[in-house]
Amino acid sequence: MPTNVLTLSVLVFLPLVGALLVAATPSKAVGLQRGVALLATLAVAWIGVVLCLDFDGSTAVIQHAENVPWFTLPGGVDVRYRLGMDGISVLLVGLTAILGPIVVLSTWGHIHQRVKEFMIWLLVMQTGMLGVFLSLDLILFYVFWETSLVPLYFILGIWGGERRLYATIKFFLYTFAGSVVMLIAAIWLIWTTNTTDVMRLLDVAGALPVDTQLWLFAAFALAFAIKVPVMPFHTWLPDAHTEAPTSGSVILAGVLLKMGTYGLLRFGIAMFPGAALEAAPWMMALGVLGIVYGAFLAMAQTDVKRLIACSSVSHLGYVVLGLFALTEAGLRGSLLQMVNHGLSTGLLFLLIGMIYERRHTRALDQYGGIASVMPFFALFLVFAVLSSVGLPGLNGFVGEYLILLGTWQASPWLAAIAVTGVIFGAVYLLMATRKMLFGPVVHSENRALNDLNGREIGLMLPIVALCIWIGVQPNVFLDRADGSLQDVLSRLERARAARTASVEIVPVHRLEIEPR
């Protein structure tokens, strides 16, 4: 494989080059702009897949690494341009790369104004997201992390719905507020440890006293928790999702939120294992709270897009729960569920976007009996819903099962509560599906709707294929993460041992939540 040319830098910056090419096109040439954007994202998808396939999952060693000097901070801290792929990032990089062309294709239907600008922001966004997952220098990571706010801010603010300005400001300020606190923690960490190398930080930060780790963990976790979003910080998400254009929602649900869970794993659990052990019960509780609360929120929605946004809160609650179970099954399940959620929720948003383009409403009661008018649409929607609720044989099942298994090992009580979320999830999603698809056609406007066209079906097929593939052969994907997850687990084990050694009284098992 020609991986000597296909480097991570090419992967990360190819979308940016695409954006510059789009910028160079004449503003009226909409077709050309779409074409360039599609070609660029297809190339990115191809390179991304090639790099992810050329990856050995049995080891935690950083692969495809790049390391170039960047600049020096006072005190002689060498900030370097460090990129690299490991088991934690490989699946998410693949997801980001594959969703690119799908999102570009989906804009054919709903972006008709200022296409050029849209394509530019979309491509810049992809550079930002890939950069977040691939940078292994703390400052480089932060640069990508915050820069990736800007494109979504424009996508939401220019092409969003009625209350887009409110939603976009809320989204930006909320996430920015979280990030700046992380910045101060990062400054402190870099000063104390004299390095910005993430791999080196994993070792030295894990050796800091637990009290110190807890402060740092809190600051980092806050930024990530807002991004995920974990329960009390979730209010920006339904607004952002509801107002965003379809493609914005797909990116938001598909990749952007995963930046938060990715951060929790790499910069929360792996970097501060001692603190993660202390904080795990609380984070798990927040995860469960998110699962149940998100499900109840979703049940109360009449706007179908908002419903899916709330279901995201619920589904990401699982990911947080699985991560902080701090067990092998939990971590594996969470990592897989990040990808699953990106696929199935992305698919749901795509479908909602497609019907919105035809009917221009998202109110559930405006639909009914769509299955008889748009059979292909119904087929895909049912598939997406079943994948989302975790039907065995599809992707969601594997992830949820592993998470629940991991949680059970840590805390049976929380697993029991979390399981109710699975039921609620099935209730609200299936009820919404019934209201939309089945029964008689009540509204005459619905009779004349056209079914999905070739482009729409075509762009969804790769997602469908992946959903099935993950459902049937999850190990193909899970194995890639194995080496790195084992590394995280061994760090946790060391922290656990250090904790037991320092505590005189025989401790209750770390991960048991004591019933109060």
């Binding site: 006072p74 700046v180 402190w188």
Partner: protein, 478 residues
């Protein structure tokens, strides 16, 4: 102090090179004003003067420190960088002011002379290590600025700005002189080296009061709470090119001297300075949040930025990395000069095209009519807000690093949270330009101005270079 031509050795010439270049340029331009035949050369001579000053500054950029006039004036790497910054700031203000003046167009020669004189004052301020030399620089800067603020003499708001600035500035100058007198009475010296050498005397009540008064007067110039009240009115009323110059250059010059002066402060004052810095950030950001006029908004934002930089001075006392504060402030100020210079410059350009003050409302729909202008202004807003990949981010990073290392973690956290408020109004400007449609009856000017556009592009380029490839700058600033 001994004086005389004998002292004007090669070293002294090197040390005062940038100042001399500017001063000679001023005299030449005055001559040109008298001889109508040479008026066509005015712009060329102006630019040549700046180029000469910049060249003179680069001569001392990498060399050892040169001390002149019995240690009352120095030239080293830091002062040379400052001088380059002042030259850039003057150039930005001058270029954007090219077609700004209408009624006063025939007086543009005067304008240029005043601008250069003020720049020479800045250079003097940055290099001075003596309270009186600094005062000479301060007045060489301030007096031309008073005149420049009132330069549009037919407009009441400009005259008002000039008068306000003059009255308050004169008051600050008086406070400064009184402070210098107290320091002299308490320590028997007015050189910074002398003051530091007698640090025991510096702790006495008389000298301490004196230092506090000096710092207060400088706080006035850098617009720190509670001495910031003049800023919005003067920035708004003064001609926009002058505002551009004031916002970037004056602040930089005052900081350039505040840095060495703050070594004379007792280290217990760190907490006090941190509180003032945070209050300045709060006042600036909250004040800017409710503004509708762009110049006023940027004025308040400038107050907030001064507060941010002051936080580094608060952290300096405990920071184990010597020189990091000066590096951080220099970098921050460089990023700010190009960012705010570009932003004020574009406001100047739009204002001179419509003849109306630029408000947030008037920027609506700018992205469709003037995509380049809107993109540059959006970039400047993001840099002012400290979003990465711009110079503003790295500046913020360096400043807060000093604060964190200086045992100021809590003030640093409060500070960054205050900077979130700032994003609130920077984003409003971006929203108006990109996400709202043009207002009826306020058409966006579409005529292009190549010279201003080139300057804006250069500023934008610098903002990105400082954010993405800061190495060449950081490695050479200590």
């Amino acid at each position: 102090m001994s004086s005389g031509l004998a002292q004007l050795s090669q070293a002294t010439l090197d040390a005062t090179g940038p100042f001399l270049a500017l001063a000679v340029g001023v005299l030449v331009l005055v001559l040109v004003e008298i001889l109508p035949a040479l008026k066509a050369l005015r712009s060329t001579l102006f630019l040549a003067t700046l180029a000469a000053a910049a060249w003179a500054a680069t001569r001392t950029l990498f060399g050892p420190e040169i001390s002149a006039f019995d240690g009352t004036y120095v030239a080293n790497s830091t002062t040379s960088w400052w001088a380059l910054l002042f030259v850039s700031s003057t150039l930005i203000a001058w270029v954007f002011g090219r077609r700004y003046y209408r009624e006063e167009a025939r007086l543009e020669g005067e304008h240029d002379i005043l601008l250069l004189t003020a720049a020479s004052g800045m250079v003097l301020m940055a290099g001075s290590r003596d309270l009186l030399v600094f005062f000479v620089g301060l007045e060489t800067l301030s007096v031309p600025l008073y005149a420049l603020s009132a330069f549009r003499r037919s407009r009441s708001e400009s005259v008002e700005a000039g008068l306000k600035y003059f009255v308050l500035g004169a008051f600050a100058a008086a406070v400064y002189l009184m402070g210098a007198a107290f320091v002299y009475a308490g320590t028997g010296t007015i050189t910074l080296d002398g003051m530091l050498a007698r640090s025991d005397l510096l702790q006495g009540p008389l000298a301490l009061t004196g230092v506090a008064m000096l710092v207060g007067a400088i706080f006035f110039k850098i617009s720190v709470f509670p001495f910031h009240l003049w800023v919005p009115d003067v920035y708004q009323g003064a001609p926009s090119p002058v505002t551009t110059f004031m916002a970037t250059g004056t602040k930089a010059a005052a900081f350039a001297f505040l840095l060495p002066l703050s070594f004379a402060l007792p280290s217990q004052s760190a907490g006090f300075i941190a509180v003032i810095a945070l209050l300045t950030m709060a006042v600036g950001n909250l004040g800017a949040l409710v503004q509708t006029d762009m110049k006023r908004l940027l004025a308040y934002s400038g107050v907030a930025h001064a507060g941010t930089m002051l936080l580094a001075i608060a952290g300096m006392f405990e920071d184990p990395e010597t020189g990091a504060t000066s590096q951080a402030i220099l970098f921050y100020m460089a990023a700010y000069t190009f960012t705010a210079g570009g932003a004020f410059g574009l406001v100047t350009m739009l204002e001179s095209q419509t003849g109306l003050p630029v408000t947030i409302e008037s920027l609506r729909g700018l992205s469709s009519k003037r995509p380049g202008v809107a993109a540059a202004l959006a970039l400047f807003m993001l840099s002012l807000g400290g979003i990465p990949a711009t110079g503003g981010f790295l500046g913020k990073y360096l400043i807060f690093s000093v604060a964190v290392r200086g045992d100021m973690v809590l003030p640093a956290v409060i500070g960054v949270l205050l900077s979130v408020i700032a994003l609130g109004y920077y984003l409003r400007i971006v929203i108006a330009m990109y996400m709202q449609t043009e207002l009826e009856g306020r058409p966006v000017p579409t005529e292009s101005r190549p010279v201003s556009a080139a300057m804006a592009l250069a500023c934008a380029g610098m903002v990105i270079v400082l954010g993405v490839l800061p190495g060449w700058f950081l490695d050479n600033v200590r």
